[in-house]
């Protein structure tokens, strides 16, 4: 029985020659496997699977982009890559009046609510700036109390789980997985 505790790695994450290029995808048995999964069972045993990108995508596993890009480049890339430039140009924050075009020109937002007003356009940019991350998992203002931090805890624990598996510390991984279960059942 395979648990949800799982880690995937892509070839891009390794240096040249760091991985055998010749493994075939275990699902389609045709394409070379570039996505490598490690599942761990409730008993703490690991099982590895090797998939090609399309089979991995079919299972809903998507590798994250990597590589930091300065904000200007991010902004420039955004306009080129995303269709509907007119749609972006029309975006404006109802609260502070800042337009997306204005933000694009000087790189600074007008008010905290811009994050919601420009969300569609900002998310790809934020993810590219932060190695694919889209959720805060760090400090939470204490005035917000514990309830709101549960979601962050969960994301953090899942990351710890991935790290533990990467380091092949399976006992630790199993322990973290149990914690995640408890949180998720609450």
């Amino acid at each position: 029985m395979i648990d949800e505790a799982r880690i995937f790695r892509t070839l891009a994450g390794f240096g040249k020659g760091g991985l055998d290029m010749n493994i075939a995808c275990q699902a389609c048995k045709k394409q070379p496997a570039t996505v490598h999964l490690t599942d761990i069972t409730p008993q703490g045993e690991k099982r590895e699977r090797h998939l090609c990108e399309s089979c991995a995508a079919a299972e809903g596993i998507m590798p994250k982009p990597s590589g930091h890009v300065p904000v200007n480049e991010l902004l420039a890339g955004l306009v080129v890559s995303k269709a509907g430039a007119q749609q972006l140009a029309d975006l404006a924050c109802p609260h502070c009046g800042m337009t997306f075009v204005e933000f694009r020109n000087n790189g600074l937002l007008g008010c905290p609510r811009d994050y919601d007003a420009f969300e569609k356009a900002l998310v790809p940019l934020i993810e590219r700036a932060h190695e694919g991350a889209g959720h805060h998992i760090g400090k939470v203002p204490s005035r917000l109390g514990a309830p709101r931090s549960t979601e962050n805890d969960l994301v953090r624990l899942k990351r710890q789980l991935v790290k533990a598996v990467e380091e092949e510390q399976y006992e630790e991984a199993a322990r973290i997985r149990d914690k995640i279960r408890i949180r998720e059942s609450q």
Binding site: H68, G97, L109, G110, P112, A129, H130, R143
Partner: protein, 354 residues
Amino acid sequence: MIIDELAKTTGDWLSGAGPMGDIVISSRIRLARNVAGYPFLARATPAQREELVDLIRGHLDSKATRGRWTYVDVEEMDELDQRILVERHLISRQHAGGAGRRGVSIADNGNDSVMINEEDHLRLQVLRSGLRLEEIWEEINQLDDDLEEKISYAYHPRYGYLTACPTNVGTGIRVSVMLHLPGLKLAGEIEKVFQAAKDLHLAVRGLFGEGTEATGDFFQVSNQVTLGRTEDEIIDDFRQTVIPRIVEYERRARQALVQERPLALDDRVWRSYGALLHARTISSDETMLHLSHLRLGVNLGRIKEVDLATVNELFMMTQPAHLQKLCNARLNGEQRSAARADYIRRRLAASRGR
């Protein structure tokens, strides 16, 4: 005035004390925060800027936060004083050159500061000598907690602490470690540093951070990613991985110089010492280069008649603004070079006499 007092001292963070102090000059953590209910500064009115200063300064001045803080108005300040604060790393160049109502509260240890109305409403900063990120995080986190009891920060359940630039969103944390790497530079292996940093998506910059080129023997390594990782994870990359690795490279490079090229090493450090001892006019850049070699010579025990404290003092005091403060006069470039050479000669002579 506080700036005149500050300008007479070296600053603890430059003392060379602390873990790996022979190579790690200083560690710094900065947190970006904004006050909820106010626009970011690009959209703030002069009245709102004023309110923000009063609000933040008020809480720092009151007993709400640990320690004593002194507020200085950066907008009204004359340019020389602004430059003193930049040279001491208490404010950024951007803050000095900014516009509108803005200021900085400085802790009485002379090392911690809170910039008000820089790119974000608040930029908290704690700076210490050596590699002491854990201790720094504890302090700045406490300061952040203290302020947060009084000030409601702009915070988003998904994106965390909201910042004017989305590249800082989430934790708002910027960790920077300043390194002295003359060994790798002399050995022509500085590329290793860029590689080590790149592996963890960290940036390598010059002495004054953003917008300054990594030239000379001093390098600042800082994080780029602020979202999707915890503060501890970000700090651990520096503490456990990248800094120990770079320090190890530098130690090996220094060891190789001592064992394989002692004559070349001594020639370099003693020539630099000689230049500093005898120059009659010397630029900032040349001073940095020779002080860097002198520091290496002192750290490796090749030069014993100068102590590290004197070298550190010279690094701080020979910067353009500090030098002018010291001479109590506005000096042009040529006059500065002469005054700098004089000062260095005097300090080194005193150090030798001890």
